[in-house]
């Protein structure tokens, strides 16, 4: 290791003597996509995230500052130690300049700390933990697409405004579910609505019938589903079997992705409210990009895919502006430049590393209203950026000056 440091030091010294040239360490800009290829998040991240990152690189014709850009990828298998050891190797041995995507909050937080220590850029798209921009925030870490706050607040406030004033919370019984239900409940109350009750279900349960019956008999207009992944899919599926939507109650899933709706089918998921950072069918730009994405992957992009694309593209723009791949200068450029891509218009990065963007409240279409495959969401309203992020005055991030 020692001699490597010396060589690296010598190279760095040599590089500084040539200030006229653009500076990219080891003559290649490497971006690692650390994702879930086979687990619960494989559909919304996985291969699609790698393709999304490649499409961003192609917009730069695969070169920046005259040096080639390389995308590498790995599957963290939802294990924090595997994720951390891959990332360590990427940063220490393979000189990866930035790591993107990273679903699973335990892995994401491990990478956040690693990237801070090693001074490299981390671009979170698949992870949802608000800790990434609060007490664990980093000058080099950027939280791109969504967090649990944005999806719960966005959905709750918008649904109350749309007339769903009385809520019943169905939450998974661990810290994540409690937090989600509490966040959403607070917003419901602040928006003038009321939470009639709450029931906690065990993580990974197969049988939601007793919980759904309680929700049904509560008489609440909206059932808030505060869980994630397979639990959300199972809860919505079984709510469909009970005919809950037909009988006049609505479902609001606090975390639901396009691919989840695809696997549920419209007949089951119809009428569910959700918040999404992007949707393929918003304007011409997003449609063109998404069709290209679909021709390569066979599916329309989830908001995470769009986020990986956007974050990698913005990173490359920042490298170009900074004229170097030095993480400190690139991070400054990331914060400085406005974010524009096929899905994002004039967004920007806040001091804690969170991307501020407008999001959308969507409602899953009736099967009869859908014009074809992947035509699943009806956009109900736009949620202004300020309503989708943790308020700075409550932030515990040391980077936020108070």
């Amino acid at each position: 290791m020692c001699y490597k440091t010396i060589i690296a030091g010598a190279l760095a010294a040599a590089a500084y003597t040539l200030p006229a040239h653009a500076q990219v360490s080891d003559d290649v800009l490497k971006i690692g996509v650390l994702t879930d290829m086979a687990g619960v998040a494989a559909d919304i991240t996985g291969k699609g995230s790698v393709v999304a990152a490649e499409m961003a690189v192609e917009e730069f014709s695969s070169t920046v500052l005259g040096k080639p850009i390389q995308i590498i990828s790995a599957d963290h298998q939802h294990k924090a130690d595997i994720g951390a050891s891959i990332a360590r190797k990427w940063l220490d041995v393979e000189n990866v300049d930035a790591i993107a995507d990273i679903p699973n909050s335990a892995v994401a937080l491990a990478i956040q700390n690693l990237a801070r220590e090693k001074k490299r850029i981390a671009l979170f798209s698949g992870a949802g933990s608000t800790a990434l921009t609060n007490d664990q925030c980093s000058p080099y870490g950027f939280h791109w697409t969504y967090d649990t706050y944005s999806v719960s607040h966005g959905t709750a406030s918008a649904v109350v405004k749309a007339g769903g004033a009385s809520w019943f919370m169905l939450a998974s019984d661990y810290a994540f579910g409690h937090q989600l239900a509490k966040d959403a409940g607070d917003v419901v109350k602040a928006s003038g609505g009321d939470v009639l009750g709450e029931v906690l279900h065990p993580l990974g349960t197969a049988d939601f019938s007793s919980f759904l019956l309680q929700a049904q008999s509560s008489g609440a207009k909206v059932i808030g589903i505060a869980n994630a992944g397979a639990d959300t899919v199972n809860a919505i599926k079984q709510a469909g079997e009970f005919g809950i939507v037909e009988q006049g109650q609505s479902l609001a899933a606090l975390i639901l992705f396009l691919q989840d709706v695809h696997s549920l089918g419209l007949a089951v998921a119809k009428g569910t409210y959700l918040t999404t950072a992007s949707y393929w069918d918003i304007d011409d730009q997003s449609r063109v990009w998404s069709e290209k994405f679909k021709s390569r992957t066979g599916m329309m992009p989830s908001m995470v895919h769009a986020g990986v694309y956007g974050s990698v593209l913005h990173y490359l723009k920042a490298v170009e502006k900074a004229g170097t791949d030095d993480a400190g200068k690139v991070a400054a450029a990331i914060r400085e430049l406005p974010i524009n891509d096929a899905f994002t218009h004039d967004a920007h990065v806040r001091e804690d590393g969170r991307v501020l963007r407008d999001m959308y409240l969507a409602r899953v279409k009736e099967p009869s209203a859908s014009k074809g495959e992947w035509d699943y969401f009806e956009i109900v309203s736009k949620i202004p950026a300020a309503d989708t992020v943790w308020p700075l005055d409550k932030s515990t991030c040391p980077l936020v000056k108070k």
């Binding site: 086979a38 924090a80 130690d81 595997i82 891959i86 360590r88 335990a106």
Partner: protein
């Protein structure tokens, strides 16, 4: 080195009439030491540390399964439990790493004593299920307790300074600490299985009724080996926490118990060196094939099937058969 020599001279490491460590074992030990001294110059040290932690974890299970004949399906509880305790101690109590590892390991000893004293009352599949059930309770605890951080785990655990003197921030210096710990654990296991206690264990494994008829307090022996195994699994988990600076739900998940069983079986159950080889194979696949995505688990499954169908005694077991020497 010195420890190895000590073990060699140990009159109790009797396996053969000669009263010393068999030549093959001596050769393999020497090779292992040599390899582990050279390896960090060529292979990424963090990866090697991970292999060593999992090798110790698999060896601890092998002690119970291969030599005690007790199939535990809940070893993640001790591995992960110690990981969480060590992470909490190092991060919140701000102790030096050796204190964190020690307290983590001790917590597994206590946990092993509690679970073991109940589980050993049953045999076979019921024993496995009881250990699994308790491990699931530990998982539930890790999910719910406020100090474990739920699905985020405990992150950013400081590596700290060994004895308050030597900084472990560099992977290289940490490597040798982990090497000493895992080698120490390994030698302890070697010593246990070649002691009179280990011989009684093997007797119980082969024929429990007969061991009882010979006057041995079978449950006594079973409990001791259970606690020893839990302690060593805890040592592996606590060390892993310091290496990766995190403890997460993965460490206490039942699939972690499964992984230990897989490593033991592929390497060779009931062999001395088998679990080390098994751990190296599995961890290498997980890390180096990570870019293949979903194929990692498929390849793992295939290797397991092949191993069960073609060489049930595991890689090291097969080599031992060819060499006609116990390894």
């Amino acid at each position: 080195m010195t420890i190895a020599v000590e073990a060699t001279n140990d009159p109790l490491s009797v396996n053969h009439a000669s009263g010393t460590m068999p030549v093959t074992h001596r050769v393999v030990f020497l090779l292992l030491i040599l390899l582990s001294l050279i390896a960090p110059f060529f292979v990424y040290p963090v990866f090697l540390m991970k292999v060593m932690c999992f090798a110790l974890f698999a060896c601890s299970l092998n002690l119970l399964l291969g030599f005690g004949g007790l199939m535990s399906f809940g070893h993640a509880a001790y591995f992960g439990g110690a990981a969480y305790v060590a992470a909490h101690v190092a991060k919140v109590w701000e102790t030096t790493p050796e204190v964190a590892i020690l307290l983590g390991t001790l917590s597994s000893t206590v946990l092993g004593l509690a679970i073991g004293s109940l589980a050993i009352r049953r045999q076979g599949i019921y024993f496995a299920m009881v250990t699994l059930a308790f491990a699931q309770m530990v998982f539930f605890g890790a999910l719910q307790f406020p100090f474990t951080g739920g699905e985020d785990g405990i992150q950013n655990v400081p590596r700290g300074d060994l004895f308050g003197l030597f900084s472990l921030r560099s992977d290289f210096s940490l490597y040798f600490v982990v090497l000493v710990i895992s080698f120490g654990g390994f030698l302890a296991i070697y010593r246990i299985i070649h002691s009179p206690f280990g011989l009684v264990l093997k007797a119980i494994r082969e024929n429990e009724v007969r061991a009882v008829s010979l006057g041995y307090q079978v449950n006594h022996y079973k409990l001791i080996v259970f606690v020893l195994s839990a302690t060593l699994a805890g040592l592996a988990g606590a060390t892993k926490t310091i290496v990766f600076q995190l403890a997460s739900l993965t460490d206490v998940h039942w699939s972690m118990s499964g992984e230990a069983v897989l490593m033991t079986l592929i390497g060779g159950m009931g062999t001395v060196f088998g679990p080390v080889v098994g751990a190296a194979v599995i961890v290498t696949m997980q890390d180096y094939l990570a870019s293949l995505g979903a194929w990692v688990t498929v390849i793992q499954g295939c290797i397991f099937v092949i191993s069960v169908l073609l060489f049930r005694e595991g890689i090291v077991g097969l080599i031992a058969k060819v060499l006609r020497r116990p390894l």
